[in-house]
């Protein structure tokens, strides 16, 4: 009898398992049924779109408002909004792709464009963009090119999304601090040389209340986001032009990295060693204890409430004599599996290229306008903070570059550079030694990424 019981439980298990499998099978059948039903849907039926994005509270509020407006303008279309925090977004999106339930419209990082196109996740929206009333030439070409791909090179070919925004990274300075110290304000058209930059920082780094502790600093940059500017303006880069070779062993690269580390270890214009964590320097900037700090458009709503005046200037220029910085972007794309691709594309264009949508987003101070004509009017208004908004546009038009990690199939090789960098920042390893030892490791990962890309194309 005991044996019999055992048999029954196994039987039960099998039945359950079969039921589960059958359940899966039938549910997918149902899906395909509803698919065909929907494609033949009458115009009266509600079309449900899912939009997944990320952003801070201000940004979420702004986007929710714009989407509400979109729904009003497009009767019959309902948009379900899914938001996540910034650090969870990539995981959630990739899980949804692996699970074959990609949202109709979603943000994606331009670095992932090739992977998503090669594997058929993103829909080609070229036809919708061409048919629509939007003027593609009125959107920053740099931004649109992020989302063009012809099957081998990005930057040209069909459109697989539009930029949610472009994110120029400019340098901000504490105007009030300069005025108090009686130092001439920085020139908004002429970047500091590296030597000048150190000098002005040294003048501003001091103990203001006489307690023997330095409480006002020149700057305090996070290497992850600021090193690019110094490297590029010194004529070096992470990658060669073919995007297949890691070029950090260039002496000019080492020079820039050394300069960056020396700000802390030699010139002492930043808070003490081992404080590259932005939390500290960001808080100091917000409290008005720091002369220079990078500013992105997404900071504008927060910086409205700063207890001091701030404005924008170009990044300090290295041996090329020209400022350099990165220009980020986040794309909004349409799922290739979306049932309502044309409506989804419509939503993308509404969010990125329509006057109505853009006006609301810009008013919320979460981004700079995507539309060139609107951006010009916006920048010309110097009555709102920061006065020199023009600097953002110059980054977009003239000297901004994409982050090197987004130029390859994945960013593993690039991230390794920053994973291992702490000893250089702490002054324990020289920049020259570091780039020499790190280059082969990064090259190995880059080779792997290239190999992966080849495979994904098959």
């Amino acid at each position: 009898m005991a044996k019999n019981k055992y048999l029954i439980s196994i039987l039960a298990l099998i039945i359950v398992f079969a039921g589960v499998l059958a359940g899966c099978g039938s549910s997918s059948k149902d899906d395909s049924k509803s698919d065909s039903a929907n494609s033949g849907a009458k115009s009266g039926e509600t079309k449900n779109l899912t939009f997944m994005f990320r952003g801070g509270p201000d940004e979420q509020k702004a986007y929710t408002a714009v989407i509400k407006k979109f729904e009003e303008d497009h009767p019959g279309v309902k948009v379900k909004i899914v938001t996540t925090t910034a650090d969870q977004y990539a995981t959630k999106l990739k899980a949804s792709i692996a699970g074959h339930s990609v949202p109709d419209v979603f943000y994606y990082d331009p670095g992932d464009l090739r992977a998503y196109v090669n594997s058929g996740v993103l829909a080609d929206i070229t036809q919708y963009v061409e048919k629509s009333s939007i003027d593609i030439n009125n959107i920053w070409p740099y931004g649109v090119n992020f989302y063009r791909y012809d099957g081998s090179v990005t930057g040209q070919g069909n459109i697989y999304g539009l930029p949610k925004d472009v994110g120029p990274f400019a340098l901000g300075y504490n105007k009030t601090m300069f005025e108090k110290a009686g130092i001439a304000l920085p020139d908004k058209d002429k970047p500091y040389t590296w030597d000048e930059f150190i000098k002005v920082n040294q003048e501003l780094t001091k103990d203001t209340n006489g307690d023997g502790k330095i409480d006002q600093f020149g700057t305090g940059f996070n290497v992850n986001w600021m090193l690019q500017s110094f490297v590029w303006s010194n004529g070096a880069d992470w990658l060669d032009s073919t995007k297949t070779k890691v070029t950090i062993d260039d002496p000019k690269f080492a020079e820039a990295l050394q300069y960056f580390a020396d700000m802390q270890n030699v010139y002492h214009i930043t808070p003490s060693v081992q404080e590259a964590q932005t939390l500290d320097t960001y808080q100091r900037w917000m409290k008005g204890e720091m002369a220079f700090f990078p500013v992105g458009p997404w900071d504008m709503s927060t910086y409205e409430k700063l207890p001091f005046e701030y404005d924008l200037i170009p990044m300090p220029a290295g041996s090329t004599g020209k400022p350099a910085t990165w220009l980020g972007s986040l794309g909004i794309g349409v799922s290739a599996d979306s049932k309502y691709q044309s409506d989804a594309a419509e939503l993308v264009m509404y969010l990125t290229a329509s006057k109505e949508g853009m006006e609301q987003l810009v008013a919320a101070k979460v981004q700079i306008p995507n539309l060139i004509d609107m951006a010009k009017t916006w920048a010309a208004d110097t009555s709102t903070k920061p006065a020199n908004k023009e600097e953002f546009l110059q980054v977009v038009n003239e000297y901004g570059r994409p982050i090197p990690g987004t130029q390859t199939y994945n960013a593993e090789w690039y991230n390794l550079f920053f994973t291992d960098i702490q000893p250089v920042i702490d002054g324990k390893v020289t920049a020259a030694d570091y780039v020499k030892s790190e280059q082969p490791k990064m090259q190995k990962l880059l080779d792997k990424a290239i190999e992966q890309e080849q495979k994904s194309k098959k």
Partner: protein
């Protein structure tokens, strides 16, 4: 075969019906993904579409992957916290078992971290460990010690995370020990007292063997949990710490899978980690079988 009553069969069916939900859940959400992951570990799956069989290539690559070795080392290193937590929990439980006033209050205090969200706790500790304004360094400052920037220093980041993990798990282990201690029959201690045993002897010969099943349980679950440490690391050191000094095996897996389109490779790591946990647990069970029954 004896015939069974209708009632018996009916009850049996109900029984299986009640069993069904967890069993289905296990099959669907544990067994199926697990088998899929094992299969995936032999492929170059990128999580998007492509999934070609490549045999043992992923496993071969793992042997020469420095970051994987580093991540595994970090994971093991942070397990040093397990015995420390165990000893502290037992000491606390023994202290609270003496019936000192305020036992309930202390129990609550020690148990609060256990029921708090790990993500929230990680954020709080991240602040506490801040080099400039952090509570930890402010406290050390009272004694004239200049604390490091805990999470930005490769030598202190692992101990920092361990301390937090111990603090978080202490209440749980303590409660288990407390329950075990309270179930030890008084008569053993009385007999020991009559025999003139001192405190240490009592502990070694009675308390320790009596709470051994609990110790075993805590060690096994802690090692399994410790192997899978991720949330703390992801939140407190979002890039895996300076020079990858705090990255755990699961953290590395997650980066590879969701950051770099290498789900196949990650699956191989997951399989190795699962094998490791399985073997360690098996060894522990064998070991426990051998040494149990001391008191008989």
């Amino acid at each position: 075969m004896p015939t069974k009553s209708k009632l018996y069969r009916k009850e049996m069916i109900y029984g299986y019906l009640f069993l069904a939900p967890p069993v289905i859940g296990m099959l669907l959400f544990t067994l199926y993904p697990m088998l899929y992951s094992i299969y995936g570990s032999f492929t170059d799956w990128d999580g998007l579409g492509q999934m070609n069989f490549i045999g043992l290539d992923n496993y071969k690559d793992l042997f020469s992957d420095e970051l994987f070795h580093k991540a595994m080392f970090n994971t093991f290193f942070m397990m040093i916290g397990i015995p420390i937590g165990l000893v502290l929990a037992l000491l606390l439980a023994m202290g609270l078992n003496r019936g000192i006033p305020g036992t309930t209050t202390f129990r609550v205090i020690y148990y609060v971290p256990v029921i708090s969200s790990l993500a929230a706790i990680s954020i709080l500790w991240q602040w506490a460990y801040n080099g400039d304004y952090g509570l930890v360094n402010q406290f050390l400052d009272l004694f004239g010690i200049k604390g490091p920037n805990w999470l930005a220093n490769k030598h202190t980041v692992k101990p920092a995370i361990m301390i937090m993990a111990i603090w978080k798990g202490l209440g749980y282990s303590m409660l288990l020990y407390l329950a075990a201690l309270q179930s030890v029959s008084r008569s053993y201690y009385e007999a020991a007292e009559l025999d003139g045993a001192n405190g240490f002897q009592t502990f070694r010969a009675i308390t320790w063997p009596m709470v051994k099943p609990v110790t075993f349980f805590i060690v096994v679950t802690s090692i399994i949990g410790g192997s899978q440490i991720f949330t703390e690391i992801n939140i407190m050191t979002s890039t895996g710490g300076p020079e990858y000094s705090s990255a755990s095996a699961v953290f590395y897996m997650w980066q590879k899978a969701f950051g770099n389109f290498q789900l196949g490779y990650s699956s191989a790591m997951a399989v190795l980690l699962a094998l490791f946990i399985f073997i360690v647990t098996l060894v522990q069970f064998k070991f426990n079988e051998k040494s149990s029954g001391d008191l008989d």
